[in-house]
Structures are given as C-alpha cells and as structure tokens.
C-alpha cells in the first residue's frame, strides 16, 4: 500500500473520531435544553410551594382560614384576614361571564365556518379571527374600560365604573378565537362520509350539524372550552384594568370584584414591603391559580386522549 494512501485513511479515521466527539457534544447540549423545560416546571412548583410554606408559617395566617375564609383584606383594616374565597369568587364570576360569551359565540362561529359558510366568506372570517387572537390582552382591557363599560352603563345605569361583567365580556371576546379555532379543527376532522350518509337519508344541514357532526367532534369541543376556561382564569390585564380592586364575595355582576390575578398585580405594583404577609400571600394565591389552571389543562388533555373518536 503506498504511503500517501495510508495517510488518507488515517485522516478519514481521525475526522470520524472528531465527528463522533462533536456529535456527542451537540447531543448533550440538545438534551440539556430539553431538560431545561422540565426545570422550568420544577422551579415553578418549587418556588410557589416554598414561598407559600413561608406564608403559612406566619403568625397572622392560618391554612384553614386561607382555604375556607370569606374575608380577604390584607391591605386595609386593623386586623388582616386571608380567606381566599372572595378572590376565587371574583375569578369564577369573570370566567363564567366570559364563557357565556365565548362558548356559544365560538361554537356557532365554528359550526358556521365548517358546515355552512361559502368559501369566500370563510376566507374573510378566518383572518379576522386570527387578528382577534393576536391582539394583546391589555388592548382588550382598554376596550372593556372605554367601550364596554359605558355601553353597559347606558343600557342599565346600575353598573359601577369597574364591574365584573365588562371584564368578563372582554375576556370572552379574547377567548372566542381559541374556542372557535380548536372546535373548528375537530369539526372538520369528522369525515365527509358521515355527513354524506346523513344527507343521503334526507337530513337537513341543521340535522347534520347537530345530530352528526357536533356529537362526533364533542371531545374536541370540550377540550377547546376547557382550554378557554384555563385562559380566562389566568387572564390578568383585562381584569386589572376593568374589574376593580375590591376583594369581596361577588354575587352581583354589576359590581366590582377582585380576581386572583388582579390581586397579584395590586401587590407587585404597590409599594408593599418585600417581606410582609401581604407580599407572601401573592405567592400562595399564585400557587392556587397554578393548581387550578394545571388541573383544567390536564382534564382537557385526558378528554382529548380518552374520548377521541378515531376514523380511518
């Protein structure tokens, strides 16, 4: 074997060895970035539970009162009370109103887009929904404050300047594209043969939409609604601008109420000392919020996996 040929073989071997080492390096950096995403979850759970633990160890706080109490006044009054239900009631009220707007509107829009709409109208409606989905939430908050609230007050003078209805409607408009696009995807995933079978038996479009397509796509529709609920529960800027800052049990939708997210904004924007009970209470509220959205998201995931209708 001539000498220079031998050298080439050596070079190839060395470059292969080098490649193997560098590929191993690249692999480990890829794995590191994947591990990073799990670290984020770990640090969310770690930070929230550690800080909540610190909060519950404070003298003026009791765990039982936190989870069962109906009075929340960490900033006012001589005696501080930390019972989270006023904040939860505010959150649920806003979410309820939002879903009353988003789910019927989103579902009918999705049904219209997938079953009825002529192609040209679809081409006009879809971008409008995409633009709505891309608008920052602070803009919706502004809209609630300067348009929805005055309109509500015009219709019914009993509405306060800050009220949960106005915030709820804005949150609903924000959630509408989520409900609509995900339910539309699952409506369109229903195979044509099912629809055509029904039309062949003499069904009208209405019958097909409600008796065939909607039941077949139900898991996707429920998953979409749950996702929207999770978004509404965690929505911050709209409620911070339009829902008010008074933590009390909310029954009357014309009054103001404070949500969990709005309370956090109040704490982190205000000049609260860094180590007082009220500062740490924000972490406990965040932990409750995180747990709520986690459970809702996870149920949505289970429904999607378990009840998916599979067609070939």
């Amino acid at each position: 074997m001539p000498e220079h040929h031998d050298g080439t073989v050596k070079l190839v071997k060395r470059s292969e060895a080098f490649r193997r080492v560098s590929e191993r390096g690249i692999m480990s950096s890829l794995i590191a970035s994947a591990v990073f995403t799990t670290l984020i979850t770990a640090s969310i759970i770690g930070v929230l539970s550690y800080q909540s633990y610190k909060f519950f160890r404070l003298e003026e706080v009791s765990v039982v009162e936190f989870f069962t109490g109906f009075e929340w006044n960490p900033l006012l009054g001589s005696e501080k009370h930390f019972g989270i239900w006023p904040l939860i009631s505010g959150t649920l009220m806003v979410t309820l109103i939002a879903m009353l707007v988003a789910i019927p509107l989103g579902l009918t829009t999705a049904l219209y887009l997938s079953e009825y709409a002529p192609r040209k109208l679809r081409a006009a409606l879809k971008p409008a929904l995409e633009v709505l989905a891309g608008i920052p939430t602070v803009v919706y908050g502004f809209f609630a404050l300067t348009v929805i609230t005055p309109v509500l007050q015009g219709v019914c003078p009993g509405f306060e300047i800050y009220n949960v209805t106005s915030a709820g409607i804005a949150v609903g408009i924000m959630c509408l594209p989520i409900v609509c696009s995900i339910s539309e995807d699952s409506l369109r995933a229903v195979p044509r043969s099912l629809r055509e079978g029904a039309y062949g038996l003499g069904a009208t479009r209405f019958d097909v939409s409600f008796k065939i397509v909607t039941p077949a796509a139900l898991s996707g529709i429920i998953a979409a609604s749950l996702l929207a609920i999770a978004r509404a529960v965690g929505e911050t800027m709209i409620v911070a601008l339009a829902a008010g800052n008074l933590a009390r049990l909310v029954w009357n939708p014309t009054e103001q109420g404070q949500t969990m997210t709005a309370y956090m904004v109040q704490i982190f924007l205000g000049d609260v000392s860094n180590f007082g009970a009220e500062y740490h209470s924000a972490y406990a509220v965040a932990a409750v919020l995180f747990a709520m959205t986690f459970i809702i998201t996870y149920i949505g995931h289970l429904i999607r996996v378990r009840f998916r209708e599979v067609y070939e």
Partner: protein, 321 residues
C-alpha cells in the same frame, strides 16, 4: 305502514325552514367577531389619532397628556424582545429537535419522552403572570441567595456608564424581563418548531442517511434547512406574543417612572404594553386617548410582524414532496 305523503312533505318543509333559520342565526353570530374587531379599530383610531405624532414617538412619559411620549417604552420592548429571541429560539428549536427527531425506542425513555411532551403542553397553559412571579423570584432576586438587587453580590462595570455592566442578582433589569418573556413564549416556540419538523417528509431523512450521513448531519444539512420557513413563521408569531405580553413584565419592571431608554442589559426598563396599561389605568380621559395612540403603535408593529410571517410562509416554503 307509512305516513301520508303530505305529512312527510310538511315535516320536510318545517325541517328545511329550521335549517335555514339556523343558517341565518349562525351567519349573524359569526359576523359578530368581525363587528367587534371593526368597533375596536374605529374606537382606537377616533381616540388615538389626536396625540399620535412624531413628538409622541420621540417623547418621554409626562404628567401632561399632550407631552407624553412612547420612546422609552418602545426601546424597552426592543431590548427585552431581543433578549427573549436570543434565548428562546436556540432552546426552543433544540428541544423540538430532541422531541421530534430522536424518538426513543426503550420503554423507560419513551415514558420520559411522553412526559416531556405533556410537560410542554402544560407549560403552555400556565398563566403568564405566574411566569412573572417566577421571574421575579429567580431572575430579579435570585431567591435572595446573592444579596438584594440594590446591593448585589457580584458587580461588573460602573453602574451608570459601562455598556458591559453586569450584576448578580439581575435586579429589575432588561435582562430579567427578557428572560421572563423567554419562559412565556418557550412552549409556543417548541410546539410550532415540532410541527415544522414533522412536516419534513421522512424520505428526505432516509435519503440522507442512506448516503452515509450521520443522524446529526442529516438534521443539520437536510431537515433544518427544509423546516426553516415553518420554524421562522412560528418564531415570529411567538415574538409578536412576546411584544404584547404585559402581565409578566409588569411584575418584573414594577411602577418606576422611566424617562430614558435602556442602554445596557442591567438598565431598568418599561415596555409598550406596560406603558399602555399605565395610561389606560388613569382616571383622566386625556390619558385614555394617549393610551389609544400607544395601542395604535403597538398594533402597527404587530401587524408588520404578522405580515412578515405570512410572507415567509408563502415565499420560502418550497414543496417538499
């Protein structure tokens, strides 16, 4: 036994009428989203054009609405979004590559793989203000392990002059804000990149592997170039989410009155959505108009980003089949 013919006919007519009515009802409701969008834009333009001029773009926040400006907020957004893009893109794309290109066969590893996917879809559902609180604890204060941010354990460079100024903990700085935004958009980047990688046909990978390329060479020279348009589109849409995100930034930046643009990573900052929140939350009507001007600027920038994403999707995407 059968129904008389005219009864069948009548019930058919009734059902068809019901269907038509529902069609109209659906169409009207579906138009409501367009209506809302239209109303929003009209209100913004009516209110916002009053203060929208060059002085607004160049000016700084002020007590007087006619003098109030958007400059520090715009530069703050540029800084935090730059930090966010330079961290979220590499981490997001690498995670997507691991998830999509290295699917393990071993049962334990497969469990791990499924867990990571579930974890990412869960992260996408975490409210952004929770990320803000995590950012405040981990980036701004660093859990209190390295002193407070006004009295940092490590400090490089002069606090006022040097561009390379750096400190640990990060404090209420543009760096901390950008990293927090990174946490918010990382799941979005990962999900869209995974979809872009999935759209690359398997035959391309197999062809490359058959020519003797290694797994990484295949990814680097075949799969990534083929999926770049999809990844870029997703990344731009994720960045437009980052630009408009206010809640986490609000927790990180606090309510300091900022009159200058940031000039290093450790500068205090404000951002466009935060400044809009600040103006919209004031009781005076005039400041609502200023907020509307800010929103117009923000929406124009977002629109430009979305247009860019559409252009990339149409121009760069070559048919791969």
């Amino acid at each position: 036994m059968s129904l008389p013919a005219d009864a069948v006919h009548r019930s058919l007519e009734a059902r068809q009428r019901k269907s038509l009515l529902f069609h109209i009802f659906c169409a009207v409701l579906a138009m409501s989203s367009v209506l809302v969008l239209g109303a929003l834009l009209v209100i913004l333009i009516v209110q916002g054009l009053e203060y929208l001029d060059l002085g607004f773009l160049k000016g700084t926040p002020s007590r007087k609405p006619e003098k109030a400006g958007f400059m520090p907020a715009m530069w703050g957004s540029v800084w935090i979004c730059a930090v966010c893009a330079f961290t979220a893109l590499p981490i997001g794309v690498s995670t997507a590559i691991i998830l999509e290109e290295f699917k393990p066969r071993h049962p334990v590893l497969r469990r791990l793989h499924a867990f990571m996917q579930l974890n990412i879809s869960n992260l996408a559902g975490v409210p952004s203000i929770v990320y803000g609180i995590i950012g405040l604890t981990v980036f701004v204060n660093m859990l209190g392990l390295f002193g407070s941010f006004s009295d940092p354990a490590l400090q490089i460079g002069d606090p006022y002059d040097d561009w390379y100024r750096f400190q640990i903990p990060f404090g209420r700085s543009a760096l901390a804000g950008g990293l927090t935004l990174m946490l918010v958009i990382l799941p979005i980047v990962i999900v869209s990149s995974v979809e872009a990688l999935r759209a690359v046909p398997g035959s391309l990978r197999q062809g490359s592997l058959a020519c003797g390329a290694t797994k990484w060479q295949t990814i680097r020279r075949v799969v990534l170039p083929a999926s770049i348009p999809g990844i870029m589109t997703g990344a731009i849409l994720a960045m437009s989410r980052a630009i408009g995100e206010a809640a986490p930034i609000l927790v990180i930046a606090g309510t300091i009155f900022i009159l200058y643009r940031p000039d290093n990573l450790m500068s205090q900052f404000t951002a466009m959505p935060l400044q809009i929140y600040n103006w919209a939350g004031r009781p005076q009507e005039e400041f609502h108009a200023v907020a509307a001007s800010g929103i117009i600027v923000l929406l124009v920038i977002l629109l430009a980003f979305n247009a860019l994403a559409v252009i990339i999707r149409h121009k760069l995407q070559k048919p791969l089949q």
